[in-house]
Structure formats: structure tokens, C-alpha cells
């Protein structure tokens, strides 16, 4: 094996071609193909973006030092949890920088909601974070109820908490499966979907839909619990812990899994707070912030709820945090079913409501963190401004923080541990 002198740069074949082409064109008296343009100075070797850099950060990402290259992961990459592009700057197999490029799923839901009535807004927000649809409806429902000055009946609040916790369980369960899938383990995702399907059947029994439930209303919920829901809930409750333990048994102690998650993507609590990371990802870094406890809404003040935290803040901690929260949610569901009162499930609210001019903020703890809605009413039938803060959108900013120095192959494994959903990221 011949040793190459590291000082001597091996010329890029494309550069050789370009030089040869320029020489031929110059000999023939033709202008060079790519005239020198000052705004592209320093970008010839990159090729992208096909425009001058706009910001200092973009300049930093696109400027390559010796030995670095840019790699696009996505937008159609099967493991990007939706349609997203990660622009990865690498040196060999080691990541130097990451720039997430978003917007491939942008539907302008906020603008659509500003042109919809308050009741129809609750259907528009469903496909945002499509794994936590119930939470998507919960925050606007809280905000609109504040705006309109109505409170949901007690039983409706209990049913809300029940379906929301069920939704959290299947969302966290899917995260376990996807995390293993991104490391090459194909089996757990199948079991995750089996577990999810049981819950989805249950929720479809109560709401009539399997995925985009459209279950919440301003001032209550659409339907009361019915026999099918209760019977499915009982069946599920009788074996859910065994299922989760089987999943754990498959994943938690797996040697490959632990090797690829322990110490990966470590965020300290301070960094996580600064980056706006919330939810299980923040609690895995040791910060006991849970909206259900920190700023209680719905019936959570009446339930026994301990905020669980982990210490290490790495991918493994985020995984363990999810498992702990699944068990916590099951405990919450037990309490909710025990305490659920009788009564109406809807307050008397007209189909088209016109709240008095005002502002309201509704925040809930979604499986991905703090999901909040800021709604402004001008007295008309649709919200004047409808603002959604999606947790996975903000958590995605952690990727450029935690990934430099790691291998390309771990990018998706770490990203899966943050559990972003692109429908929510792109709104």
C-alpha cells in the first residue's frame, strides 16, 4: 500500500475536467462556462446552494474546509420520520455540522385556521402531529374555552384526560419501535404497531376515526364513552404491562442497542432549556418540567402524578424516560377510570361561536413536549390569529448541537431518540 503525502492534495476529477474544459474553450476563443461571480466566491467546490448564502450561519455550513464534504440525508429518506432534509457536513464518517432543511410538509395550517371557525379549527390541527392527535386538539380546546369563557363539564375533562393518556402511550410505544428500527432492529416496530392498534381501535370506538380523531369540541368532547370502548379498555389493560415488558425485554438490555444509545446525543439540562427542548427529552436531561405538573390543566391537579426524570440526558435516557412515562400513563388511566364522574360531556356551546375580543394561551404536555396554542379573537367567528408551538419543531434544533463528532450512521438513531414528527415540525 503506497503512502500518500498528506500535504499533497489529490486533485478532484471534476476540477481537472473543469480546468481542461476552460483550457479548451480559452484556446478556441470562447468565454469560460462559469464566469467568476463575486457572490459565489468560495462556493465553487460545493455546488449548493445555487444562490449566494444569506446568513452567517448558512455561510458557515456551506463553507468547506479541506477534507470536508456535504451530504444530503433526505428529503425522501425513509428514516427521517416524514419528509425532511438534513444537510450534513462530514469529514470522512464524522459529522462536522448539521443544518436541518424544513418545509417539505408545510401546509400553512395556522393561516388555514385563521380562515376557519373555532369548531373547524379543531379538525385542521389533527394532521399536524399525527401521532398525538388528541393532544393537538386539547390545547386549542383549552385556549378557545378560555376565550369563550366556558368550561367543559367534569366528565368531559375526565374523558379528555383518558384519551390523551391513551394517545401518549401509543405515541411513546411507537417511539420505542422506531428507535430500534433506525438501528436496524426490525422486530420491535411490529410489536409497537400491534400495541398501537389496540389503542387505536379503542379510540376509534369512542371517536369514530382511527387516526385523525376530531374528538374534542369547544366545551367538551364529541361522544361519551360507550360499551365497546370500555370493553376494549379492560381487555387492553389486562395485558398491556406484559406487552410493554416484552418490548423492554427485546430492546432495553440489547447489546447493540445500548452500545448505540448510551452516551449518544447527550444534552445537559441547561442546554436543553436553552434550546427549548421540552417533554420527555427535557426530563431525560434531569429537568422535572412537565406541564401537567408545572402548570396543571384539565383534571391533572386531582390525579397522583410524579414527574419522572433521568439523569444522563443521552439517547438511552430518553428511551428509558418513554418507558417510564408509558407506565405512568397507565397508572393515570387507572385513576381516571376509578374517579370518572357521571354527567354531561358537552357544555352548551353553539356551533359557530363568537368569543369576545381577547387573547388566550392553552398549553398541554404532548408526547413530544410543550404543545401550546395562542389564540386571538377579534369578536368574529374565526380566530384572528392562531399560533401553534409544536414541540418537535423546536426540539429539532438540538440536532446540530449533539451530533458534531459523531458518526453519520448515528444521525438517525439520535434523531429517533428525540422523536420528532414532521407533520408537526412543518405545520
Amino acid at each position: 500500500m503506497t503512502k500518500t503525502d498528506p500535504e499533497v492534495r489529490i486533485p478532484d476529477p471534476i476540477d481537472l475536467d473543469r480546468a481542461e474544459e476552460d483550457r479548451l474553450r480559452a484556446a478556441a476563443g470562447l468565454a469560460p462556462v462559469r464566469p467568476e461571480r463575486p457572490e459565489y466566491a468560495g462556493f465553487e467546490q460545493v455546488g449548493i446552494p445555487d444562490r449566494p448564502p444569506e446568513t452567517a450561519r448558512e455561510m458557515e455550513v456551506y463553507s468547506l474546509a479541506e477534507g470536508e464534504m456535504l451530504l444530503n440525508m433526505g428529503p425522501q429518506h425513509p428514516s427521517t420520520h416524514g419528509v425532511m432534509r438534513l444537510l450534513v457536513k462530514i469529514r470522512g464518517e464524522v459529522i462536522v455540522d448539521i443544518d436541518p432543511v424544513l418545509g417539505y410538509l408545510h401546509r400553512g395550517i395556522e393561516k388555514l385556521c385563521e380562515n376557519a371557525t373555532y369548531t373547524t379549527v379543531l379538525t385542521y390541527v389533527d394532521p399536524m402531529d399525527y401521532l398525538s392527535t388528541m393532544h393537538n386538539e386539547h390545547a386549542p380546546a383549552i385556549a378557545f374555552e378560555k376565550l369563550y369563557g366556558v368550561r367543559a363539564p367534569k366528565r368531559a375533562e375526565y374523558i379528555r384526560a383518558l384519551v390523551v393518556e391513551l394517545n401518549r402511550i401509543f405515541s411513546h410505544g411507537l417511539m420505542m419501535g422506531f428507535l430500534a428500527l433506525d438501528m436496524g432492529g426490525l422486530t420491535p416496530i411490529l410489536y409497537s404497531f400491534i400495541n398501537r392498534d389496540e389503542i387505536v381501535d379503542m379510540l376509534s370506538a369512542i371517536s369514530g376515526q382511527r387516526m385523525l380523531f376530531n374528538f374534542f369540541r369547544v366545551g367538551g368532547v364529541n361522544f361519551d364513552v360507550n360499551d365497546e370502548f370500555i370493553s376494549r379498555l379492560g381487555t387492553w389493560r389486562s395485558h398491556v404491562l406484559e406487552n410493554i415488558e416484552m418490548n423492554e425485554w427485546m430492546i432495553t438490555e440489547n447489546e447493540i442497542f445500548t452500545a448505540r444509545t448510551k452516551g449518544m446525543g447527550t444534552l445537559t439540562g441547561q442546554e436543553a432549556i436553552s434550546l427549548g427542548v421540552t417533554g420527555p427529552n427535557l426530563r431525560a436531561s434531569g429537568v422535572p418540567f412537565d406541564v401537567r405538573k408545572a402548570h396543571p390543566y384539565s383534571i391533572y391537579p386531582e390525579l397522583e402524578l410524579e414527574v419522572i426524570t433521568q439523569e444522563s440526558g443521552d439517547s438511552y435516557a430518553r428511551y428509558l424516560q418513554r418507558i417510564a412515562e408509558i407506565k405512568q400513563s397507565i397508572h393515570l388511566i387507572d385513576q381516571i377510570v376509578d374517579k370518572m364522574p357521571h354527567g354531561p360531556v358537552q357544555a352548551q356551546v353553539p356551533g359557530i361561536i363568537r368569543p369576545k375580543p381577547g387573547r388566550a394561551y392553552g398549553a398541554v404536555e404532548s408526547p413530544r413536549g410543550l404543545y401550546s396554542v395562542y389564540a386571538i379573537s377579534d369578536g368574529g367567528p374565526n380566530p384572528y390569529r392562531f399560533r401553534m408551538r409544536d414541540p418537535s419543531f423546536i426540539s429539532l434544533q438540538a440536532m446540530p448541537k449533539v451530533m458534531p463528532g459523531r458518526l453519520v450512521a448515528d444521525t438517525m438513531a439520535v434523531m429517533a431518540s428525540f422523536d420528532p414528527v414532521m407533520g408537526g415540525v412543518d405545520k
Binding site: T55, N115, G219
Partner: protein, 226 residues
């Protein structure tokens, strides 16, 4: 199994009106705020779980730094940073929602931004996570956050030239119903104004007016583009 909606019970059993005028259980927070920010604080207002005040857009960094670093306030977490457009002739607002362990209320800080020159200081040095919020506000509203080192579009493509969440950006399918009848001064032809295709088709067919079906109607005097 069919879903049976329960019969509606009597009105008195239904949801009760919640009094929005009652102040939050956040008297201590209100007192501290009025002490610390006597000069900046305007229109202090409380909801049942929110304390809100307005500040001048030029003072946002100072106020938010104080809110974060003051040990009595300690609003360590930026829950949300939203931009609001109050329409042509009015102003923009950048709205911050903050959380602190010490106070049982969300704190909402509304910073007013001039609409003709929408500039406000960045807070990405206080919370790094404000970056995506500010990029979104820039993309959707066109608010410039001074000092933000990555202020580029985040959802729309880089060559897009409009700010779609401004109130004078009217959705194409709403144009017929809009008071302005489709006038949209913010959209530029290079993005998604279809008139250039119509014009091109009309020129190809040799009938220059074919691309402007509204020419000659009573509204033609307005700056109508579709």
C-alpha cells in the same frame, strides 16, 4: 356499536361561565413586575392563569434579560415566541410566553413592532431555541430580528418573496370573498402569480387581452391582478 349521543341535560347542569375578570393568583408576580419594570410596563392584564403586559419593541432584550436573570422572577424557559399581525395601518407584535417555577402563571410579554419598518432585537443569545421561532416569524410575517445570525426562510423556499401570514396576504381561493377583491400587494410575480402564464398564453395567441379577463369590468380601475 353505534355511538349514541346522550340527551342534553338541563342548562343549569352544563358548563358554567368562568369569570375572566378575576385576577390570577399571581399577585406577587404583578407586584414584582410593577416594581421592576415601572418604565417599560404598559397595560398589565391578568387572565386566570396568565399575566400579560406590553412593552416597546426596542426594549425587548433588556426586559427579557431581566425577566430571565432576576432571582425573584427567574423566567428560565421560553415557552413560545409568536408574531402577530394587526393588519395594514396597525402594527406587528412579537409575543413571548415565559415560564418560571416561582410563579403560578404564564407570563406573556407583547412587544410592539412598527409595521413599516419591522425590526426587533433577537433573543437567540438568551435562548438558543428562539432561533426557529424567529426564522418562522421572519418567513411568515417578514419581521427582521436584528442580531439573529441565521435569519432565513424556514418553511417556504428561499426564492419565495411573500410573507404569507400577514393579514394583507389573501389566499387565492378566498380572493372572491375578500374585501379587496384579490388585491395582493405582497405577492411578487416570480413566485406564484399566475398572470404571467396567462399573459404568455395571450401573447402566443395574439390576443393581448386574453390574459386579463377582468379588463373592462367596473373594477378594472383598482389594482387588480387576477
Amino acid at each position: 356499536m353505534a355511538h349514541v349521543r346522550r340527551p342534553r341535560p338541563a342548562a343549569h347542569a352544563l358548563g358554567r361561565r368562568r369569570s375572566l375578570s378575576s385576577p390570577a393568583a399571581a399577585g406577587a408576580l404583578v407586584r414584582i413586575l410593577t416594581e421592576r419594570f415601572a418604565d417599560d410596563l404598559r397595560d398589565l392584564w391578568t387572565d386566570e392563569d396568565t399575566v400579560e403586559f406590553q412593552i416597546d419593541g426596542a426594549r425587548n432584550v433588556e426586559v427579557l434579560t431581566a425577566l430571565r436573570d432576576d432571582p425573584d422572577l427567574a423566567f428560565f424557559m421560553l415557552a413560545d415566541e409568536a408574531a402577530v399581525d394587526y393588519g395594514v395601518g396597525a402594527h406587528f407584535e412579537v409575543v413571548y410566553h415565559l415560564f418560571s417555577w416561582q410563579h403560578p402563571a404564564w407570563l406573556r410579554v407583547r412587544a410592539r413592532v412598527d409595521r413599516s419598518d419591522p425590526r426587533i432585537g433577537t433573543i437567540t443569545h438568551l435562548w438558543e431555541g428562539a432561533m426557529f421561532h424567529e426564522r418562522e416569524a421572519y418567513d411568515m410575517m417578514g419581521i427582521i430580528f436584528e442580531g439573529n445570525r441565521d435569519l432565513r426562510r424556514i418553511y417556504m423556499s428561499p426564492d419565495y418573496r411573500s410573507f404569507p401570514q400577514r393579514k394583507d396576504f389573501i389566499l387565492p381561493d378566498d380572493a372572491a370573498d375578500s374585501p379587496a377583491h384579490g388585491v395582493n400587494p405582497l405577492e411578487r410575480p416570480e413566485t406564484w402569480d399566475l398572470s404571467r402564464f396567462r399573459d404568455a398564453a395571450g401573447a402566443a395567441a395574439g390576443t393581448p387581452d386574453a390574459g386579463t379577463p377582468d379588463a373592462g369590468t367596473p373594477d378594472a380601475g383598482k389594482s387588480r391582478r387576477r
